[in-house]
């Protein structure tokens, strides 16, 4: 026999591998057809929107394009000044040619009535510059050479190197400036990255608060869910099923109803405060503020996310036979040692799964903090919603959401490295 195995063939001489592939092709096609609807659904509703969001966070053509809302026609804007930026490297002082190009573009803006949208784009980078564009565009016809002086006369800000830097950055459409904004950073005249003014720093603090609150909620959920899950796992099946219904009951009620009932309970004229006043624990003027702040957010979100912790814990605890703890006890361990060294380590896959699930859900939670959070209990998702709906700075919203997404992915990766994703049991 030779060392290299001869190519195996079927009885009638076909290569075995192709015969195998042929014989299984039909069942493989059928298997694919079964998952095809889900595959399409995921691609259309999940992969494409996320891709679009990621793209929008690094691409904003507001400075160079204008889309007519009625006709859908796209007009190129700021072509002259964009051409000047391409010919001259970064750091070149804008000369008369540059100002002439800018003036020509401003005249074009007036004709296309796109001054507002271009100004908006620069306004994202330098707050307060929208009006710079709108007012200058309104009087663009009257600009005459020399343009540098004419524009400076129209508004001194046209001589500001920051404005020129922002225009250069916006002229390509592709930019990482929104990520800088989302991390409370900006660029100075030289293009170096610096922190924004103390007064307007908000995003990093909100990210930290979101992570902190989510961690707190996860911890509270774990502490509350562990005994419940253990009880459910040790009761006879008939009774544990009944209790499981109670755990799942919140899922059958609208999220809004549950959140509003917490408002009823916890507000300063609410049930809990009334009771404490009636019993005499606190005075009438000492009512505790538990709603529209962090306490409200933590309480309501813990309640809502608790089942996501109970279920994985239960599914891990149920198959652990009582004989493990008994064995540990008979071998001489106290009940605490038996719990810590024998029972707890076996529930870790459930703890990990539940914690990861609750934490990820909490990080992206929106409705509850919006309703009960007040100013103090807002999370990053509320700010993303604000930029989506109010300020219409979608690129910034996308950048914030992307940072959130990557943060969660990094946590997931860390979890995999430290605990191992194979050790996770979701149910």
């Amino acid at each position: 026999m030779s060392d290299a195995p001869a190519l195996l063939t079927t009885a009638d001489g076909q290569p075995l591998k192709s015969a195998l592939a042929h014989s299984q092709a039909r069942s493989r096609r059928r298997a694919f057809l079964l998952v095809a609807p889900l595959f399409l659904f995921v691609v259309i509703t999940f992969v494409i929107p996320i891709g679009q969001m990621l793209f929008q966070s690094v691409y904003n053509p507001g400075f160079i394009e204008y889309e007519n809302r009625d006709t859908g026609e796209i007009t190129k804007l700021m072509t002259n000044v964009t051409a000047w930026f391409e010919q001259n490297p970064q750091g070149t002082q804008p000369d008369e040619t540059a100002y002439a190009a800018l003036a020509a573009d401003l005249v074009h803006l007036k004709a296309t009535r796109a001054g507002g949208s271009v100004g908006e784009r620069i306004n994202y980078d330098i707050p307060g510059t929208r009006s710079l564009f709108t007012t200058t565009v309104r009087n663009a016809d009257r600009l005459a050479p020399p343009y540098r002086e004419a524009l400076a006369a129209a508004d001194a800000k046209w001589a500001d190197p920051l404005v020129w830097r922002a225009m250069r950055s916006a002229s390509t459409g592709y930019t990482l400036d929104f990520y800088l904004n989302a991390l409370d950073l900006t660029r100075d005249e030289t293009g170096a990255i610096v922190q924004v003014d103390q007064k307007v720093r908000v995003y990093v603090m909100l990210f930290m608060r979101t992570l902190g609150l989510s961690a707190a909620i996860t911890l509270i959920c774990l502490v509350l869910a562990f005994p419940i899950a253990h009880l459910l796992a040790t009761l006879p099946l008939a009774r544990s099923n009944l209790l499981m219904v109670l755990v799942l009951l919140p899922f059958w009620t609208s999220l809004l109803v549950r959140t509003t009932s917490w408002i009823v309970l916890l507000q300063s004229q609410g049930v809990v405060n009334d009771l404490m006043v009636a019993v005499g624990i606190i005075g009438e003027d000492g009512r505790i503020q538990m709603m529209y702040n962090r306490i409200g957010t933590i309480v309501a979100m813990t309640h809502i996310l608790l089942p996501f912790m109970v279920l994985p814990l239960y599914s891990v605890m149920r198959p652990i036979p009582p004989s493990y703890v008994r064995a540990a006890r008979s071998l001489g361990a106290t009940s605490w040692t038996a719990f810590r060294r024998v029972y707890l380590p076996q529930t870790l896959p459930g703890v990990g799964a539940g914690a990861l699930l609750v934490f990820i859900l909490a990080v992206g939670y929106y409705i509850t903090p919006a309703l009960v959070g007040g100013a103090d209990g807002q999370l990053i998702s509320n700010l993303i919603a604000f930029h989506m709906q109010k300020s219409l700075n979608w690129s910034l919203a996308a950048a914030l959401a992307s940072i959130l997404l990557f943060g969660v992915l990094i946590l997931y990766w860390l979890y995999d490295r430290i605990v191992g994703i194979d050790n996770m049991k979701l149910g």
């Binding site: 036979p321 004989s323 064995a327 540990a328 008979s330 071998l331 001489g332 361990a333 106290t334 009940s335």
Partner: protein, 370 residues
Amino acid sequence: MTASNAAAVGEGFVVFDRVQKSYDGVTLVVKDLNLSIAKGEFLTMLGPSGSGKTTCLMMLAGFETATHGDIRLDSRPINQVPPHKRGIGMVFQNYALFPHMSVGENLAFPLEVRGIGKSEREAKIKRALDMVQMGAFVHRRPAQLSGGQQQRIALARALVFDPKLVLMDEPLGALDKQLREHMQFEIKHLHDSLGLTVVYVTHDQGEALTMSDRVAVFNDGVIQQLDTPDELYERPRNSFVAQFIGENNKLTGVVEQIEAGKALVRLATGEVIDATPVNVTHKGQKTLVSIRPERVEFKPDMMPPGAHVIGAEVIEVIYMGDILRARLHVAGSSDFIMKMRNTIGQTRLSPGQTVNIGWDPLDARALEPL
């Protein structure tokens, strides 16, 4: 029986003194248990499921509390002692090896919680593993071991801290037949060489007979008979034990004559047979006569002189290798079994054939029906 037990109670290494157990306050799972186990004894609790044998073991281990009565270990009442202070080694049915620890860590566990130093720990672990021929597996995880290997580790873990008493709760139930027989031998060997006191729970009567010094047959929360294996098999004291231990032929009838350890029983169909009265006392009493299939004879010259014989028709003969097993129609019922050794000169019976069968009166035990 109660009198003889009462005499033993108070002297043994492990003593159950009038122990009762109820889970719901309505029914008793264990009814008035008196049992004394000597040091170094291998005692098996045998019985069908729900007979109270496992409950007794759990009370001894400390996982259940006795509703009434005393349990004493080495003359010390242990009712109030928590399980971890009893110093009893236990082997569980599913082995209960901690899946997140290696074999070595499993064995180190009872030593660590006792605060035994590292070097002494390692010596003890090595000794225990060598005892069950598993020395090479110290770094494996339980999941990487076969059922028999896990069983050995569980055994080593229960012995590594030198317990005074070892409890085993159906430890071989999950193994296949061959391995089970091999492990029975090994456990018995360990018991002999280490001088252990073992309380063993099983529902497998073969296991109970081969391993034990004494067997306690449980049914309905009561010890039906506590005896050595041969006594139990050959001289069952009541119908339950007779039926539970080994295969048995049952013939019901009425005592016709009874005197000096001999009885004549008239069956419902009119035949008369010989029997030894066990717990029947007077003429006219209803009785159940139990005869082991291997003690039934069909060749006239093998029967004791003067023994009564009874007509039987062969229904089927099954060839089982070492024995031939014949099902006979006897006294109106057709589940009478006779076993014959498969020897060269053995007469081969065939279905439809009629024979006369009989037995030594000592082998037919007239019992009170259930």
